[in-house]
Amino acid sequence: MSVVVVFSVSPRICNMAASFDSMNATQLVTGGASLVNKRPIFTNDSKYLLVCVHQKVRIYSVATGKCVQNLIGHSDVVTNVSCNPHNKLQATTCSLDGTVRQWDIIDGALLTTFTFPWPIYSMLVHETFPTDQFYLCKQGIETDGLKTCFTLMQTSADRTKEDAEVIFSQLTGECEKLTVVSGNGEFIAGIDDNFLLLHFLKGKKRPTRFKAGSHPLTCLASHPTKSTVAVGNEAGHIIIITNLHRNIISNLEHWHANRVEDLCFSPEGVFLYSVGHECVLVDWNLEKGVKSFLPRLGAPINHVSCAASNALKAVCLLDNAILILSQNVIQQTIQGISRSKLYYPTSYIPCGLLLDPRTNALVKNGRKGHLHFYNIEDDTSLVSIDITGENYVSGNTLENIRMYTDVVQAAFSMNGDWLATVEEQRAADIRDVQCRVKFWIFDKQKQSFLLNTTVERPHDADVNALEFQPWQKNREGNNPVAVTASLDGKFKVWRYGDNFNNYKKSKCWNCDCVGFYKDAVPSDVSFSSDGSLLSVSFNVTITLWEPDANVLTKTLCHTLSNLPIRKLEFGRGQSSHMLICATSDRITSWNMLSCQVQWSVQLACKLLISDPYSELMASVDSSNKLFVFQAGHSKPLFFMDCRNSIISATFVPRTKSSLGLKEDNLLPWQKHSQLYLMTEEEEIVAIVTKEEADLYNKKQRFQNNLEESLPSTPFAEFLQSHGNRGSGIRKATTDILKKYVGDDTLVKEMVMTPPHILPPVRTLATTFLHSLLLPSDSKREPEVDLSDSEEEEEDMEENSEGSDSEMETTEMKKKVAVEGALVSSLDTQREEIPEKVLAQLSNRSRKQFSYLQTVFSELSIDP
């Protein structure tokens, strides 16, 4: 074994002033926006949900859970959305850009804009308020540097700034939960620390302050009919304050252990819903004094809102999901890219962004112990796989995070058949880390990953790298192989094979071999694209192994940098002979054919990823500069200075369905795959051309009507399917109709008369059905069997030359049946009746149905 130390370097440090076409490129936020920052609102018909997402309002259909419309126009964050109480088809929004806008919900069109001189943090609407009068929250003068306080102003659209009347001067807390109007528009309530403030709109009662307990209040809700207000506080108490305009009566209820996040009354005011960090929706029946629970919703809840029909509730989970509940059953889940900030002080995605090769979906850490599959192209969540099988339990204080298990590494095999995960159980005060490797196989029938093998304690220390061998079918052995590297100084090769258990014949993953190099700690592993070479980096040394035989073939080391190697990546495609290794100060490219350094560039590399389907590689340095290069060349193809801190990135292969752009409008290196970056705020950013960005924004505005995007009812679907089958027939039917409408008024009368003028369906139907029954005395031909009826029909069609006309009449009869509002199953039953019998029947029924006579006579005519 020879150690080749290479000094012949071509130190072409790339010139950053290179003339790239990066001027044309922009960053486009395509996903990952938080859906749960503001409280979602149901429309008045409870069919849609309005959700504030950054600068726009998304309208989700309750029936499908899909986004059907976007209200685009605000130039800053939308802080509040509500239905216009004066016009139920309109929505009113307010934004930090200082405008209040009214929209048409159906078209998504902007109707009116009112501009105010300060950013608007919240807004109150009520049907008793005049249309030109606004109650708006702006940021108040800060008394101390710790808390931001808000001021509620009463102002009108045409008045100037000085005329605005201050209603509450100091409100502290989360701005949208600070103020509320009573259900009858009698007063406005606000919270200031542990005081409830009341401002009466009717009568001459002076504003009052009411001390509600000794803990700071967090949220409030008002009863829809009574003068009752419910407030929640930091200690988890809910205080229900009644009789506000007379002697105040208050009642304290306590269930929540942590602070009450949100409160909402049901539209009739019988129930009060409260949510908090316990992941439980509590349903208080205030009159009876009983409460019921909807537990284990998965993540802490920060908003709850109730539809006017009281059938639906929307619950916002802090991991960026909105649950639509109907009678305490989850009906829809609107899932954004789930966020890790809920569980960690900063965003922490240990798995990084992965690509599922099967669906081209982005995969990342989702809910605690889950992997979240996300379709980036239409910004929808696909599936969340529970890896650890643990329920999230909130701590007894908000700061106290309990011990939990999280997925720290994950990898997909080349074709997406296998998924490997590494999970670790961590606690702040426990040093012993429990580690587990799981292998999941994709089940084509269930269309999901099933657990195949669990390896408890695969290593003595943390696993820091996990990689599948690119598996090719023609290769010998044919068994997939994976490699894990750990801080205990060893890397292990895992192979899928026979189970050694004697009792059960199955296949599972077994440890094939263990490798180590001196006493060094492996930092990363990488397979060459054909899977024939495994490279493992130990400190400053790269070792090359033959994975099947587990033989060390070469060690590579250079003296350009003494820093340990952090990332290792083989090139793909044309540059598959190249091995890129990254330390914290430079990127070096090795040529595997010559075992020499091809090039080396000084770059404080933070991220290094490769496109599995092309020879592109991307690197992000510590100052968030993005470089895209090919493994063989040190000159970057593309360079961009990202504004935000990038924590992960991945290449996603381009599919034909995306946008339908011409190739000219794409960045030249992105023709085959699109690069997506994840920022610290856990937003997904794509690098696109300006044309692409324009097109994307245009696409966001839905052109069609809201109603069209709703799914059809089952009956409509049924009709549609039949209609498709017989579109030609329908035309023929209309022809027949025309034929008879011209000369027979009877048919015209029957088909064209509105159904409500016709005789009762009951009388019509029974006689009609009787006429269709087989007469008891008629001899049934033996070949008329239901199972053979199709063949029979075919025979019939062959025999009878006028098969077209027969089909027409069949359809005609169907039409009649539909007109008479007969059940649709009748059609199918009737189709099985041979046409000959039908002809006989029609003759028999001629007497009863004089106006059907002509139709059936047409049937029985032998042309």
């Binding site: 009341l198 509600a212 009983v290």
Partner: protein, 733 residues
């Protein structure tokens, strides 16, 4: 080195009995307990205090109480209606009926009593003018026993609660007007309507065994509202005088309030709303009563608690959690008598007395640090336990200072014993003359010649002590009102007595023929008083905790009296516990020890009074707890905590002339002086309180004037002896 040694004993296992029922009328609250005794509390505007106890007996169960024009009636499950003599503290007359009585209520015109019987009949009794009641008639029988009953204000309608139903009766005809079947939460489970009441607008409020509080319309029998307010049965219910609030409590000891709130609809209807709830008890609440602006509650946990109502709902700044006051279940008279010369104490239980010898410490212990524990040489030992005949309750007991005489009195008679200590012989004095009446308070004169007894006839009798033939020496002229307190000096011949109105009378017990003219000023009822060693000074504590001192020679306030008034700061008067026991230091007339149920106060009249803002009571409990822990653990092993030495704040500092003039700001010289002596942090005023020992049963000087005896009864050990309470899940446990 501390000023006092504290001898701390926890061996007296006094067991108070639970509260069964309450009745309030005319500033007097009667509290019936499960052992049949009835406590009478006097309620005044600024304070309320335990006035007297009517002893119970096993033959008389007190299930319910009623005041009728200042007369107290009780009814019980033995089937008796009893009227009490509040002067003699004994039953006046009892009427028996065949069946037990569950409930009783007086009509609003106070002419009749209605009782609900075990056999399912409501019976009416007419209240006679002078004493007792007479049976008038019974209503129609029903199958189930009648558990609760209430009169409508008009006197025409009675509502009764029984098993599974509520009935509305017409008083004139005795017929059922309305029958309401209660809602069942669980099938095949009987619902007992434990308590109900009817409001003036014919709304029935009922509390049942399922924990439901329900509001019904009595005229139609329709349920108006129903609240699942408790998790277990509701036993008690009461209505505020304006009938806008209802309070309920029971086995789930939360007290839940319901208030009338207006609904904002067109006809301005009002409906009941669940308002605040308080969780102050931890065992069944059996009785609730509104006393002026307080809600008083009591139950199996034996503690009478009160909650202020006026803070609630009156204005927009009202608080949600009301202030409360606890009254520990100990009587206002000391249950412990000491014989300092013999190191003996006498502990008075419900039906027995126990004579204990205190433990002793090693002699050579001299120097010990403040707060240090001293190991004991010998623990306390119980010498004698005397049980009263056939379970009669003991009203009072006495032990002579040398421990050679012992006496106790029941409702029936006084019993006197001669005790010889070495060897221990108890000799019962057999022939007490019949003219010696049952006593309410007993004391031996210090020279052991006589037994002084406050009789149940409001007079004072002197009995000469003799082994065989004690004779009635003298009977003083009876006072107009019942005598509440008596003080006898160690030397001298003049004793002081006070009656319930606060009149002080001086009597010469050595030579009863000598009349003493007294003209001592009257202020308020006197709760406790003490005479100094020579019998020249009389220290009194009034019901509002204000203090005063009289000089008996001058027959007027003593010199210290104006200064004592300054000791009564707001902080002192603001505490609600009555002073149970006062004692002069035998060697130093300026030093007194005062005791209430939660604290022990050493008062030095020579020092300056505390300023308004100066803390009397030690707020910082941190160090207190640290000290308390070790003796607690020792008690379990040795049954007596070792005597403790304790610094009483304030050493003998000369009183400052400035102090008298300016109470607002402490004079600078004072601070300097403090620094010079090195007592920067010590409070120098003359009132030193100690809340370390609580609940206190007794605190007083032993023969050594530097030693204080403290008898504690940890409240937790009382609770350990109670039956298991309804368990409620507490978060985080």
């Amino acid at each position: 080195m501390g000023e006092f040694k504290v001898h701390n004993g926890k061996f007296f296992e006094y067991m108070p009995s639970g509260i069964q029922c309450m009745s309030y009328s005319n500033h007097t609250l009667a509290v019936g307990r499960t052992d049949g005794s009835i406590d009478i509390w006097k309620v005044t505007e600024e304070s309320w205090y335990h006035q007297k106890t009517l002893p119970g007996s096993e033959q008389r169960n007190v299930q319910c109480l009623a005041w009728v024009k200042g007369r107290l009636f009780s009814a019980g499950l033995q089937g008796n209606i009893t009227e009490y003599d509040l002067v003699k503290l004994s039953p006046k007359v009892s009427h028996f009926y065949g069946h037990g009585f569950w409930c009783m209520s007086a009509s609003h015109d106070k002419s009749r009593l209605a009782v609900g019987c075990e056999d399912g009949c409501v019976r009416l009794y007419k209240i006679l003018e002078d004493k007792g009641v007479v049976y008038e008639r019974g209503f129609q029988f029903q199958k189930e026993q009648i558990v609760s009953l209430a009169w409508h204000r008009s006197g025409e309608v009675i509502v009764t609660g029984s098993i599974n139903n509520i009935r509305v009766w017409d008083v004139a005809s005795g017929q059922v007007k309305q029958r309401i079947t209660t809602q069942r939460l669980r099938r095949r489970q009987e619902v007992v309507v434990w308590c109900l009441t009817i409001l003036q607008d014919f709304t029935i409020v009922s509390g049942d065994s399922q924990g439901l509080t329900q509001f019904w319309d009595a005229r139609t029998g329709v349920s108006l509202q129903s609240f699942n307010s408790h998790r277990a049965g509701i036993f008690a219910l009461c209505v505020s005088p304006n009938e806008r609030s209802v309070y309920t409590a029971g086995a789930d000891p939360r007290i839940v309030t319901f208030s009338l709130a207006s609904t904002n609809d067109r006809n301005n209807r009002e409906e009941w709303t669940k308002a605040w709830s308080s969780h102050h008890h931890f065992h069944d609440v059996k009785a609730l009563s509104v006393v002026d602006d307080l809600l008083v509650s009591g139950g199996t946990d034996t503690i009478l608690r009160s909650t202020a109502l006026h803070r609630l709902g009156s204005d927009s700044n009202s608080q949600i959690i009301p202030k409360r006051r606890n009254d520990l279940p100990f009587p206002m008279k000391p249950l412990v008598q000491t014989a300092p010369e013999a190191n003996l104490i006498l502990c008075q239980h419900q039906c027995s007395v126990e004579l204990w010898r205190l433990g002793s410490i090693e002699k050579d212990v001299r120097d010990f640090a403040d707060g240090a524990s001293i190991s004991i040489a010998s623990g306390p030992s119980k010498l004698i336990e005397i049980r009263s005949k056939s379970g009669e309750q003991i009203i009072c007991s006495a032990l002579s200072t040398c421990g050679s005489w012992l006496a106790y009195s029941t409702v029936e008679k006084i019993r006197l014993y001669k005790v010889t200590l070495d060897p221990l012989v108890l000799h019962k004095v057999p022939l007490i003359p019949d003219s010696v009446l049952p006593s309410h308070q007993l004391k031996f004169t210090p020279d052991l010649s006589k037994l002084v007894s406050v009789t149940n006839q409001c007079s004072i009798q002197l009995v000469t002590l003799d082994d065989l033939h004690p004779i009635l020496f003298h009977t003083f002229e009876p006072m107009e009102r019942p005598i509440s307190n008596m003080a006898i000096p160690s030397k001298g011949s003049v004793m002081a007595v006070t009656d319930e109105s606060g009149l002080i009378k001086l009597l010469n017990f050595k030579d009863p023929s000598k009349e003493i003219q007294t003209a001592l000023p009257r202020y308020k009822p006197i709760i406790s008083m003490a005479l100094n060693y020579s019998g020249s000074l009389l220290f009194v504590v009034y019901s509002d905790r204000s203090m005063n001192e009289f000089s008996l020679h001058q027959q007027t306030y003593s010199k210290m009296s104006p200064k004592l008034a300054k000791f009564c700061t707001l902080q002192w008067l603001g505490r609600k516990q009555s002073i149970v026991h006062v004692e002069y230091n035998q060697t130093n007339d300026s030093q007194l020890i005062l005791m209430d149920n939660t604290s022990l106060v050493v008062l030095n009249k020579q020092k300056r009074p505390p300023d308004d803002y100066e803390p009397i009571y030690d707020v910082s409990a941190g160090s207190k707890r640290g000290r308390e822990a070790p003796p607690m653990s020792k008690v379990k092993r040795g049954r007596e905590a070792p005597p403790m030495s304790k610094v009483k704040r304030g050493r003998q500092a000369p009183p400052m002339s400035k102090v008298k003039r300016g109470r607002e700001a402490p004079p600078m010289s004072n601070v300097k002086h403090g620094v010079a002596v090195g007592e920067k942090n010590k409070v120098q005023h003359g009132m030193a309180a100690c809340e370390k020992y609580k609940p206190l049963l007794f605190a007083g000087f032993l023969s050594d004037p530097k030693t204080i005896l403290v008898i504690e009864r940890p409240i937790r050990s009382i609770y350990e002896k109670l039956p298991p309470a309804f368990q409620t899940k507490k978060f985080g446990t």
